[in-house]
Amino acid sequence: MSSYPVPQTTPIPEAREGSSGSENHTNYLSAGYTLKSWLLTVDHKRIAVLYLLGITFFFVIGGIFALLIRLELMTPKGDLVSSDTYNRLFTQHGLIMIFLFLIPAIPGVFGNFLIPLMVGARDLAFPKINLASWYMFMIGGGFMLAAIFTGGVDTGWTFYTPYSTTFANSSVILAGLGAFIVGFSSVFTGLNFAVTIHKMRCPGLTWFRLPLFVWAHYATSLIMLLGTPVVAITVLLVAIERIWGVGIFDPRIGGDPILFQHLFWFYSHPAVYIMILPAMGVMSELFSTFSRKPVFGYSFIAASSLAIAIVGFFVWGHHMLVSGQSEFAGLIFSALSFLVAIPSAVKVFNWTATLYKGSISFQAPMIYAFGFIGLFAIGGLTGLFLACLGMDYHVHDTYFVVAHFHYVMVGATIMGFLGALHYWWPKMFGKMYSEGWAQFAAVVIFLGFNFTFFPQFLLGYLGMPRHYHEYVPEFQILHILSSAGAMLLGVGYLIPGVYLTYSFFYGKKAPANPWGATGLEWQTSSPPPTHNFEKTPVVTGEPYDYSRVESVPNVAS
């Protein structure tokens, strides 16, 4: 009998044949052109586009701070900016990139757009809360920008006490409030995803028939719900201590600054899994589609997403190994941190095994996927170096750490984001992008990235501390290499900005399923109609079943 989802609808003809001209059906983009129809939308697909605009805006600002940092670091003397200004540069770069890009990006754009489609629903469980989450994101971002433009923030993105509570002479409260409000965005998103996945799967769609992208976002939602509130109260306590003049982290009354670190990292470590799990979900989709093979070890990958989310809550103290926390606690956290590498490794092995005897093609999304594997391997493995107590005593607070987290956050998460952006671009906007330019940009980004951050491992190992803008002259050559790489990376990021925008207006019309992929989102038109499906789909087969999908249409641009 029929194996993979056969929706009750007939495919929309003009989407298949690529005929030009106006729609016979309206899609979600053409369903209204007024500002009000966008700013008051409850359509998850429009909200996804709103998120895309927002995160791109904040990414540019965060990127500008990064370029200023790299510019300063080209010379050993602190001659471009003062120390106070430099403190603000790296703090604000971190705050914006983490809270306003890495955490919301893939869930806010692709989770929002795709989860209802992938589960065969007409929208997320709570459409108005979805819109509220975007407003929380933008308002929180507004507070962050306000902090930046009213004196800046110089505490480091981690707000460590007692500097942040007692001594910092900068807009800590505004920034903290910004983080607090953006936290609501995260919580609302996680809540929506979790309820949707539990309650709104279409008939026949059991848990183990879900795309792995959905599993990844489900695990992410758990972290968003359980972790975010703890950093919210912590940041609030910092603000209270600043305002009130006395607080629970104040050593003068017996408060312990390390307690702040415990509460802060209880969220902020799982937060890094909020950043990476959605990208891993993307990878499962990409590796499958571009090898035309089911993902190897589906249930192991699904389980590993949950395992990462759960074990990720047990390891936060590895950020505090030299803080003054007890050595015994350090031992426990170090050992558990090794444990959390296992499910990540399971994923990497399974994706690699997916490639074996697959029919592999190298369109831009797949280039990003390969980039992800390499960069995540390096980033993840260097995480193990840092988890190792003895090693961490030497490289904590050096550029080794900076390189590690950029490999996983930029190397892996942004590869995931860009891979997703290219893969689902035809679905979201109904247009094909220029494949040649996309492949070129992917390679430039990969090269630029490695030139930027690989030297930083060496710098850190050799002893260059983080947060410093002055350094010994011996380090300059590595810094120049890194800064040159950063320029290349910046250029690489600009290229998609150009061809994707061009494609939005002038690109070739996209068919419903340009990649020959499996998944319910490809069974509806590109772009989808507002209500997603003409009739609720019924799933009768296993995921990633390519026998039912027609061969890849010719999509060369």
């Binding site: 703890v230 415990h262 209880f266 936060w316 926390q325 007890s326 050595e327 015994f328 606690a329 426990i332």
Partner: protein
């Protein structure tokens, strides 16, 4: 067509019984607090509070009559909370126990 919203209707007498139990437990916890039981006082106080909380969760909040998923949600959140307490306290309770050799 007049539908009835799905949802279990708990009889009023159950609510009253739970209320009485909560009042009794409150009196108990106050009385016990004035008795010196050494190390047992804190776990006992937390234990009684937890029994009260479970009664509210199961009966007032209908968890007993809701899909199993809801109970799973309660258990997971309790577990995460305990995790936060336990691992944080593991730092404070073991400070100074392992002393690294100073070079």
């Amino acid at each position: 067509m007049n539908h009835i919203m799905p949802g279990h209707i708990v009889p009023v007498r159950v609510y009253l019984a739970v209320f009485c139990a909560l009042v009794v437990l409150t009196v108990l916890t106050v009385k016990v607090a004035y008795v010196d039981l050494g190390l047992l006082n804190t776990p006992l106080a937390l234990g009684i509070a937890s029994v009260k909380a479970m009664l509210v969760v199961l009966y007032f909040m209908h968890a007993r009559y809701s899909p199993r998923l809801i109970l799973l949600v309660v258990i997971v959140s309790a577990f995460t909370l305990i995790l936060l307490f336990a691992f944080t306290l593991s730092d404070y309770l073991t400070r100074g126990q392992i002393v690294l050799p100073i070079q």
